[in-house]
Amino acid sequence: MFEFFRKLFSGNGEEAPNERAITAPLSDQQIQSIVYNQNVQFETQQLIAAIGQSVGKQREHNEDSLVAITATLAGKASNIPFGLYIVADGMGGHQFGEVASNAAIRVVSGYIMRKFHPYLFTIPTQQPEESLQEIMESAIKESHRVIQKDAPGSGTTITAALIVGQQVTIGHVGDSRAYAMHPVGRLEQLTRDHSLVKRLEELGHLNKEEAANFPHRNVLIRALGQGESLEVDVFTIPFPQNSTLMLCSDGLWGVVAEQDLLRSLSDAPNLQRACQNMVSAANTAGGPDNISVILVQMIG
């Protein structure tokens, strides 16, 4: 008994030798990699991003569209990160699903990039008139009008992230998602699905389990191109610190478990491979739908 306590509180008595410690000399390669990893320093903050896409295993067309633009803005005091990342998922049951998602991407990114053109490519002479949230909302509403005109009857989701400096402004309609993937192994959903199943869950008609087995999981209650008026969710948050921003369509989040998404990221040597891992995981699970994913990190 006394021995047991002594072991427990060995810190107070003589040092118990730590049998697990491995003291074998490290190889040069190991030392180099440790030194290399400790010296990762970037003077200014910058974005890195990667994308992954697949038509999946069961569809013939790709109705998903995405865009990823990474740059820096020349500021007065320093250069600041600029990024525009969008995922759109055209509606399968409708004609021209790909036309709709494509139009959404083109119109929204075109609108936003035109607003930022002076700051990216010329010397800005005056402050932007509109706020980032206003630019995002107008861009999405503009694409809503274009889709209704050019591809009537079709619809699409859109989840767009505009990064200026250290904050992300997110515009969102439908059931594509934005997540913050935290290093501790936690996936935080930043957007709220505009789907029937989510609505019923919010109203208390379905519990988590019933929601998971709900037959009409892919029915949307809000979509770009559908309905007369469109309400867009727009909000701004600090870029999730030491975390990865993920945008994806339901071909990924609806098929691959959260733990597997997190593992795809943590096991990969870089973001590009993480995207490929996620796409393969969705295809391995049957690939029932088109798959799109964008991963973004802020380093420095």
């Binding site: 600041i80 980032l132 904050q167 109203l203």
Partner: protein, 581 residues
């Protein structure tokens, strides 16, 4: 029920309600049980402290009669309101009552050690007082809930859920009855005259098509036959109702319609100066420091309003004092920044600017930062009163600097907004369309301020990009306050606004009778703000509902401070007031 007058207070008319119960049971054991039930109600009520539950003053039994002395609620019960109204009650009105009823239900259900089930939620048990707020009456059968216990069937048919007839009472039963009450109020169809549990056959919008589909969905969820399909609790139902209110814009209408008459709020003390008080006080270690347009800075004991000392300058003082290591710092219209001993009121040093000072000092890093009408931001050494540097803006600086992220933020009368580092070098600049007198406040990576161009701005604190703009009815010189996810600000259109900080979307607005130049202050779950209409308002910060207002004799231009449950406010009626928060 009697309306009575309390004779303990001969000099004031204090109305109380007396509930009388005559005990006619012949069996002594039954009689005793009845008295016990009565006393249980009294004891239960006495422990509950909530604005929607009447206060209990006394109870007693005499012979075969028992009496309960309660707070008298001026007003009318909801059943009478429904039957006296021609046509339907407005949705936003019922919504507002629904939200308040959810509040009081969450309070009761959250009661420790055991939740209290009201069990008899119905229009005739809900009083609407003269402020337009709900008060629950008749707690005769409110019952502390013991898990698993089967009770006897009490409750009012028509409003009671199916499981109550099986003798079960849970918080979810109250949710159902609340749903039934809202259904009655919105449709005017008395559920007692309808087949039981037939609400599903009478959807709200079929009877009253002007009701929003969102509200219909909430009421229908509350009225689900199966308890597990209702809201999980009153808080969840309140959130859903708030969601409806936000969506339909009802919340702003609710806030504007609930103006209440000035209540019987009595100041703890008042202090009279010789001219208008336009500034905001500072409270430090039991002493209130406040500037006045009689050119004096006053030190007043916060506990009793007793004069301690005054210090004379040669100009009006609107600048809010700052405290640092035994000294008080403030600016005056005599163009000087004054440093005086907090204990004695004697001068330590003065610093001359080239213009009048309306800005307030901000202390950081051994420096004081303050703006002046000489168009400069001055950085002054705390100990010596010597200038370290000054930054020349392009117009007068009346905004008070804010310091965060190692940057100094302030606006100017030209509409420029600046971010400087501690060396006085500009890091970025933003241009509003008109002057920025409002003082900025930062939270996380965002900075908020209002402008006379009728906009509340949210900028990225690091680079000055506009994140959102919220349109006010008129210009504003009020400085925003922050709490959780909300930003509060006043404007010249007479409204106090509450806006969500991540989205720039309005949560509520509250109408006062005149311009709001005062800056709101958040304390606990209330927001306090003055108005040029002379009132200091206390509002519930999540809903904008008025808790009380206090009327001074002239416009309130300065801002309140709250400390230890006491609000301090100066008014242009020359007085400083201390009020119970």
């Amino acid at each position: 029920m009697y309306r009575a007058r309390d004779l303990h207070f001969p000099n004031v008319t204090k109305l109380v309600a007396v509930k009388e119960m005559i005990n006619m049971a012949p069996d002594p054991l039954v009689r005793q049980t009845i008295v016990q039930n009565f006393e249980r109600e009294a004891n239960l009520l006495a422990t509950l402290n909530h604005p929607a539950i009447p206060r209990i003053y006394d109870y007693f039994s005499e012979d075969d009669r028992s009496y309960l002395v309660l707070e008298f609620v001026h007003g009318k019960d909801l059943e009478a309101i429904i039957s006296d109204t021609n046509g339907f009650l407005p949705e936003e009105q019922v919504l507002s009552w629904g939200i308040q009823l959810c509040d009081v239900l969450s309070f009761l259900h959250g009661h420790k050690p055991d939740p209290i089930i009201f069990r008899d939620m119905k229009p005739s048990n809900i009083m609407i007082n003269s402020n337009g707020d709900v008060v629950l009456v008749d707690f005769g059968i409110a019952k502390t809930f013991q898990s698993g216990q089967k009770g006897t069937m009490i409750g009012t048919e028509g409003y009671s859920p199916p499981e109550q007839y099986r003798g079960e009472a849970t918080p979810l039963a109250d949710i159902y009855s609340l749903g039934a009450t809202l259904h009655h109020a919105l449709t005017r169809r008395d559920p007692r005259l309808e087949p039981p549990f037939s609400f599903a056959e009478r959807p709200l919008r079929k009877i009253n098509s002007r009701i929003s589909p969102e509200l219909e969905a909430v009421v229908s969820t509350a009225l689900q036959y199966n308890p597990s399909e209702r809201f999980a609790g009153a808080t969840e139902m309140k959130d859903a109702l708030m969601g409806v209110a936000r969506k339909t814009g009802a919340l702003s209408k609710i806030a504007t319609t609930s103006i209440a008459p000035a209540g019987g709020i009595k100041p703890i003390w008042t202090f009279k100066c010789e001219d208008e008080v336009r500034g905001t006080p500072l409270l430090h270690q039991g002493v209130l420091y406040i500037g006045c347009y009689d050119n004096n800075l006053y030190a007043i004991s916060a506990a009793d309003g007793k004069f301690q000392w005054k210090y004379a300058t040669e100009g009006g003082i609107v600048s809010r004092p700052a405290f640092y290591e035994g000294n008080v710092y403030f600016g005056s219209e005599d163009r000087r920044l004054h440093s005086i001993s907090a204990r004695t009121g004697n001068v330590v040093w003065t610093y001359f600017a080239d213009g009048r000072i309306h800005s307030s000092p901000r202390i950081a890093d051994g420096h004081i930062f303050i703006g002046s009408d000489d168009q400069s931001l001055h950085a002054v050494n705390l100990n010596t009163g010597r200038r370290i540097w000054k930054f020349d803006a392009d117009d007068q600086i009346r905004s008070t600097p804010f310091i965060a992220n190692e940057l100094i933020y302030f606006g100017s009368e030209s509409g420029a907004f600046y971010a400087l580092d501690f060396r006085g070098t500009m890091k970025w600049r933003f241009q509003a369309k008109r002057s920025i007198t409002s003082s900025p406040i930062a939270a996380g990576q965002s900075i908020f301020f209002a402008s006379v161009d009728s906009t509340l701005y949210c900028l990225d604190a690091r680079n000055g990009w506009a994140i959102w703009r919220y349109r006010l009815g008129k210009g504003s010189v009020s400085s925003p306050a922050l709490s959780e996810d909300y930003v509060f600000v006043g404007a010249a259109d007479g409204f106090i606004y509450c806006v969500e900080s991540h989205t720039g979307k309005e949560v509520w607005r509250f109408r006062t009778e005149h311009q709001v130049t005062s800056s709101p202050v958040v304390y606990k779950d209330s927001v306090y703000c003055g108005s040029v209409d002379g009132n200091l308002y206390c509002l519930e910060y999540r809903t904008g509902r008025q808790r009380w207002k206090f009327e001074t004799k002239a416009a309130i231009i300065g801002s309140p401070i709250v400390f230890d449950d006491i609000v301090y406010i100066g008014s242009t009626d020359h007085q400083v007031y201390a009020l119970l928060a």
